[in-house]
């Protein structure tokens, strides 16, 4: 039932809101996904930010109101998925996005949702990060297809991403299966040409009809659902067979099968080298791969080179299908050493494999000698100049010393890893700072320190803290509250001041039109039963040191909440105060290097034995002035000209 409603706004404020079918735009992959969802009439959207998925949610944050989409930055991925699933049970087309690891966090609801089945179409975008560029692991979400009965779409370009998303909602409704779209960094963060389709004239009608046997997967219902699931999954395969996600090109006897961005690379290479008469290229844009498509392709070629990042998922699928159909076609891929098992592919890597496969001269024998470069200095990520985490970490280290175990968490504050701050001895996943601090403290009998940010605390630190409390672990939890989810691009967190739009993250309020509340971490922590709570400003050295000392000598769980805004976000909002320009007085500085050894702030330059403050980078936080024992860091007297 489609309810008529005006959706198309007269003067759209974002280019993806225009209703001009056939228009070609150059869109970022993540933005193309948002457009695809709009073309499908999406009504609900939730997400938890995570690189490289964040721009999907950030785009919705900007357009949701105008597009009439209910939107939220959820507290974590499990919640995002659950709210979106419930929304789809009312008939709404719903979507949620997260990074690859978020899918694991949400796996509990995800594993049973296909049993219950959707009403309105539901699409989960889970962006992958081959080579773990911004994550602690690289994983292959395509396994969710066989693992939990999810159709998984694997777009290779922004245009694929748009068409896939547009298609996925109706497909989800027909099969009643929630579906996963798995773009990877190179698709999410590349821009490419897309062709806009029509925006819908109406949306799904919203109603929730009670039917407990349909919505309650208690065992007796779950077993029935399980049988239906097999049928629905078969239907998915049948529908996909008729879709356009398996294009085939070329007429050679050498088969190449490619999935994800590898398809873009392979197709480009065949174009550039003019190999279409020798090769037939088959794109696999979605799983489960329909048997007939595989049979057809394997019948048309003498051998197949399989090009896919991460795991030999497609390769094993093809091998299995071929053996079932008794098709004897040699397969080359990761299992045969034609491609590495790990990391993302590059066009060069794919070209080498294609050349090897076709018996061509190798690229390396063609290329010129590359001269030996001088060693190029690295530019590792560091905490920004004036980051409040640096101020906090410096004092935490000073009070707790080098023998304490520091358990860190996921966010900008992970950059406390290594020299000179050294406050990251263990790290695992969101919220695990507190649980790891518990486990280590309980076994070693020594107080441990857990450090995590505001967004991560609400994401999954809260139950971990309750757990530490019930065990009375000797843990000091340091919550670095900078009022924003900084690492992923400044999305509002629960402690963002969203009452005043101007001070929210750049993407606006976290729940469209509703929440004006600013959560109190202290209130929450007190409610759980923590007795020792310290609210401190990390730049207030005396108060901070005192609190840390007390926390160190106390028993059981105590919590320090360090409030200080992310400097970069303050700057972008125009909220930072006029800074006092600082300099290092060469007459007083004796080159003791203490500031560098303790802080590692990029605002301090060292050249030819001289210490200087980089006027471009320094935000005037004054931390180095506190550290310097010779009072060498001083304000520059601003002379009037």
């Amino acid at each position: 039932m489609r309810e008529e409603a005006t959706f198309v706004s007269a003067a759209p404020t974002h280019e993806i809101l225009q209703d001009s079918p056939g228009t070609r735009l150059c869109l970022l992959g993540n933005v193309a996904i948002a457009r695809g969802a709009l073309e499908a009439g999406v009504q609900f959207f939730s997400c938890y930010p995570g690189t490289p998925s964040s721009e999907v949610g950030d785009t919705f944050a900007r357009i949701a109101e105008e597009a009439g989409v209910k939107f939220e930055y959820s507290v974590n991925e499990k919640i995002a998925v659950e709210v979106a699933f419930a929304a789809c049970l009312t008939g709404a087309r719903s979507m949620c996005s997260m990074k690859h690891l978020g899918l694991n966090y949400a796996n509990d609801p995800i594993s049973t949702m296909p049993y219950v089945g959707v009403e309105g179409g539901m699409v989960i975008v889970s962006a992958g990060d081959p080579s773990a560029i911004t994550s602690p692991n690289e994983q292959d979400q395509r396994h969710f297809c066989k693992f939990l009965y999810y159709p998984v779409f694997d777009p290779g370009t922004p245009d694929d991403a748009l068409r896939t998303t547009r298609y996925a909602f109706a497909f989800s409704e027909q099969t009643r299966l929630p579906v996963i779209i798995r773009p990877t960094t190179r698709v999410c963060h590349s821009s490419g040409m897309v062709t806009l389709g029509k925006l819908p004239g109406g949306r799904n009608e919203i109603h929730f009809d009670k039917d407990p046997s349909r919505y309650v997967p208690i065992p007796i219902n779950a077993r029935r659902m399980r049988k239906e699931l097999t049928e629905r999954f078969e239907l998915a395969s049948t529908l996909l067979r008729e879709s356009d996600f398996y294009p085939r090109r070329g007429e050679g006897r050498h088969g190449i099968m490619a999935s994800g961005v590898s398809y873009a690379y392979a197709s480009q290479i065949l174009d550039d080298l003019g190999l279409w008469d020798q090769v037939t290229l088959q794109q696999i844009g979605a799983y489960p791969i329909p048997e007939s498509i595989l049979r057809d392709f394997l019948g048309a070629v003498d051998s197949v080179l399989l090009v896919e990042e991460l795991t030999p998922y497609m390769e094993d699928w093809v091998a299995e299908a071929a053996s079932r159909a008794a098709q004897q076609v040699p397969l080359f891929g990761k299992r045969t050493g034609h491609f590495p098992m790990e990391f993302e592919y590059s066009p060069d890597l794919v070209e080498d494999a294609v050349r090897q496969y076709l018996g061509m001269t190798s690229r390396s024998s063609l290329s010129v000698d590359v001269p030996e470069l001088p060693e190029l200095p690295p530019r590792p990520p560091v905490l920004c100049p004036g980051c409040p985490h640096r101020a906090a970490y410096y004092l935490v280290r000073k009070v707790f010393g080098k023998n304490t175990t520091y358990c860190n968490d996921i966010g900008c504050y992970t950059l406390g890893y290594g020299e000179p701050l050294n406050v990251c001895d263990v790290l695992l996943c969101m919220g695990a700072s507190i649980t790891q601090a518990s486990g280590i403290a309980r076994m070693t009998g020594k107080r441990t320190v857990a450090c995590l940010g505001d967004s991560t605390f609400f994401h999954s630190g809260l139950p971990a803290l309750a757990n530490a409390l019930q065990a009375r672990d000797d843990v000091t939890v340091i919550i670095l509250d900078n009022f924003i989810t900084a690492m992923t691009g400044f999305q509002p967190s629960l402690t963002s001041n969203r009452g005043d739009r101007g001070s929210a993250g750049r993407h606006g309020p976290s729940v469209s039109g509703i929440s004006k509340m600013r959560f109190s971490i202290e209130g929450v922590v007190r409610g759980l039963g923590v007795q020792d709570i310290y609210s401190v400003d990390p730049y207030d050295e005396a108060a901070m040191t005192e609190a840390l000392k007390q926390a160190k000598s106390a028993e059981g769980v105590n919590v320090l909440v360090c409030h200080s805004p992310c400097m970069v976000n303050e700057r972008r909002l125009g909220h930072h105060q006029e800074r006092v320009p600082l300099r290092i007085n060469v007459d007083k500085c004796n080159g003791c290097s203490l500031c560098v050894r303790l802080l590692g702030c990029p605002g301090i330059l060292v050249s030819g034995g001289h210490y200087m403050i980089d006027d471009e980078l320094c935000v005037g936080c004054g931390l180095c002035a506190n550290v310097c024992k010779h009072d060498a860091v001083e304000p520059i007297a601003v002379e009037k000209i």
Partner: protein
């Protein structure tokens, strides 16, 4: 027109913009994409940068009418805009003899270099810019380096560095878009103060690229 051209074996143009976070490389790529999309070209663009913090390496590719891959392969860059010497050198593998390189010689020394040396820990230090240029010249025939930062300062703001560099690219006349057309479609409509600075920076780049281009042609005796 006897200027150096970004020649492409295949069709289209592959441009790499390399710099450090905060130098405006990503913005330059975005502007370039916008201009060519509006002209009716097919544009693909990829970014490679680490975490959100400023100061890290940034590489952005802009591929015009080349196909669907967003990544420039080894030796495939027609033109490299190097906003920073070390970052330009990092892109060496993407260059070939057909590549034209415009490089800003003003270094952004990674703070770790100074700080590591200060603590007498290992670290190579910042290489001599001249050595980097020599290496680039062994691969690419046309390597043009100059203090683009100075031109940006002269134009009114170090933030206009990206406009100087885009000026080089458009001034090279290697692309199917003239500098004037670029100015009309992007800079003309800016607020006046910004427009003034960016225009001055852009045309400083254009002029410089024309000068070195002509000199190069004369030197090669054509």
């Amino acid at each position: 027109m006897s200027s150096p051209k970004c020649e492409s074996d295949a069709k289209g143009w592959r441009i790499l913009i390399a710099g450090t976070g905060g130098q405006g490389a990503l913005t330059a790529a975005r502007v370039l994409c916008g201009v060519f999309v509006r002209r009716g070209h097919d544009v693909v663009s990829g970014q490679l940068h680490g975490m959100a913090q400023r100061g890290g390496s940034v590489q952005s590719s802009v591929l015009i009418d080349t196909g669907i891959s967003p990544v420039i392969g080894a030796g495939q860059a027609d033109c490299v805009l190097g906003f920073e010497p070390v970052e330009t050198a990092r892109a060496l593998s993407l260059m070939s003899k057909n590549t034209t390189v415009y490089m800003n010689t003003c270094a952004v020394v990674p703070f770790v270099v100074g700080q590591q040396l200060a603590l007498t820990r290992a670290g190579a230090g910042y290489p001599a810019v001249k050595d980097l240029i020599d290496c680039l010249k062994k691969v690419a025939q046309r390597v043009f380096s100059f203090d683009a930062m100075q031109r940006a300062f002269d134009a009114g703001s170090p933030k206009a560095l990206n406009m100087v560099m885009l000026g080089c690219l458009l001034g090279s006349e290697a692309l199917p878009c003239t500098a004037d057309e670029f100015w009309t479609t992007t800079l003309k409509t800016m607020p006046s103060k910004l427009k003034q600075i960016n225009t001055a920076a852009f045309f400083a780049g254009v002029e410089w690229a024309r000068e070195v281009g002509n000199a190069a042609v004369e030197a090669s005796g054509s």
